[in-house]
Amino acid sequence: MSEPACPPYRLPPPQRQSRRQGWGFAALLLGLVGASLYTLDLRLSEFLSRDAAARMGAFVAEFFPPEHAPAFLHKVLLGAWETLAMSGLGTLLAALAGLTLALPAARLHAHDRARWRGPTRLLLNALRSIPELVWAALLLVSAGLGPFAGTLALALHTSGVLGRLFAEALENAPRGPAEALRVQGVDETRILLYATLPQLLPQLLSYTLYRWENNIRAASVLGVVGAGGLGQLLAFHLGLFHMPRTATILIAMLLLVALVDGLSWLSRRSMTR
């Protein structure tokens, strides 16, 4: 049966139905929360007891004063630089890999059969859905402890994210310039280099910078599994109960993230004004 040209007017569903939906949703939610709290064996009462509060206070007091011997500060600075380098190189590798994967994952023009679109998108989704930290834990097997594993882990996860974003950008790019070259018989590589990419470059760059910002944050914690940077220092000193040193590293982490946040806010404001 074909659709009528003018669909008949329908009344909105009666209110009782949406009310029932609302109650159903609330019941589902409460059920999920209740089941979670019931099965987790949280021992929150133990945590909220006076004894635990005293323990917590003593634990926090151990952090002060943060270690500030110049030799240690130098080590922390090196760790921060390693974190920055990991995130930078990881993002750069990811941008290259993402662009390479985005090309087969995008339908570039109307007559593009895009045979590899499905499989590449599946690969990108798989890369994306495994977090950096899990990648790092897996890569430690073949790359060994240290920042190299962390860099690769960042690159793998981020290439999944960027590949997908780049593919969307390629598919949504204005078609005019590319079509103009195509009807002149220019080959696909040159169309990409001289028509599509120049149009998209600002967008691709802003996605990459955004991911870099995220990756600095991720890189600072990646080390917890042994993949270099500030996180590795943190896990090491926390494991040995060097609380003042841990406090210094935590402050360094917060400063790094605050610095990145501030810079990104400033650059965004200067660009939008």
Partner: protein, 277 residues
């Protein structure tokens, strides 16, 4: 016109600039390569190849003994439960803080400028939210594992604190950016702040608030797997111990389960957000 066309260069006019930019980038890249100990050939070292080859060869077939699958199912549920309980705790932290931080609900601001004390309080609450948010949940978990011991409690607390900060900040932003006339009108006519919130602000932004919460729940599922790596229980902890024992088959099963879990959470959250409007 024709003179212009014949004068057009055959070579790329920006060639020199492109070349120098690329060379400069490579020069800048060198310290990064040194700092990250970037030695890809180590991956193809015979020893390393043998170890990773053995590890990867174990991936197929994925482990599928009934006992192990049961264990994985239990830990998967614990992961979801940890995320849900964590977001609930985050919500309990975020809602009052967001109410305190929302400038729209200020009575003194009705007269033009907010009085100094309420303004200072709002800045203080905002700073607290930023502090909660800017410590990554993994670090919170690492610290809480030292205090409350191994287990899901530290994971729930970690998610609760960092998500409390995130949710609180975004709630306050949503409440301030939505339709505020109704709330202002209520306040001007002598309503309390809570009444103005319930009848003025909430109806206008309920959909956005709940949809953001559902989105955060989806993120929490992802991060609760990661929290397992520092000993907060759930799928991550199981995955960590399997990787350390080089048990490829078990790792393969868990990765598949994890990808499926993330995809499912993604679908569920998209569906819920659509239903919420």
């Amino acid at each position: 016109m024709s003179a212009l066309a014949t004068a057009a260069p055959r070579r790329d006019p920006a060639f020199a600039a492109r070349l120098s930019w690329s060379a400069g980038t490579l020069l800048l890249l060198w310290p990064l390569l040194v700092a990250t100990e970037f030695r890809p050939w180590l991956l193809f070292d015979p020893d390393s190849l043998r170890v990773s080859g053995n590890f990867l060869a174990g991936f197929w077939p994925p482990a599928h003994e009934a006992n192990f699958l049961l264990l994985v199912a239990r830990e998967t549920w614990r992961t979801v439960a940890m995320a849900t309980a964590g977001v609930t705790l985050g919500l309990l932290i975020a809602a009052p803080l967001a109410l305190l931080a929302t400038g729209t609900l200020s009575i003194s601001a009705l007269g033009g400028r907010m009085a100094p004390l309420p303004a200072a309080l709002r800045q203080l609450v905002r700073a607290l939210l930023v502090l909660l948010r800017s410590v990554p949940e993994l670090i919170w978990a690492l610290v809480f594992v030292r205090v409350v011991g191994l287990g899901p409690t530290s994971g729930v607390l970690a998610i609760g604190l960092s998500y409390g900060g995130m949710l609180g900040k975004v709630y306050a932003e949503i409440l301030e950016s939505g339709e505020t006339q109704a709330a202002t009108a209520l306040l001007r006519n002598g309503c309390g702040r809570l009444q103005a919130f319930c009848y003025g602000l909430l109806p206008a932004s309920a959909a956005e608030l709940s949809s953001y919460t559902v989105y955060r729940w989806e993120c929490a599922i992802r991060s609760s797997v990661v929290l397992g790596f520092v000993g907060a229980g759930g799928l991550g902890q199981l995955l960590d111990s399997s990787v350390k024992m080089f048990a490829g088959a078990e790792v393969a099963t868990m990765l598949l389960v994890f990808v499926a879990l993330v995809a499912l959470a993604d679908r569920a959250s998209a569906w819920l957000r659509q239903a919420l409007g």
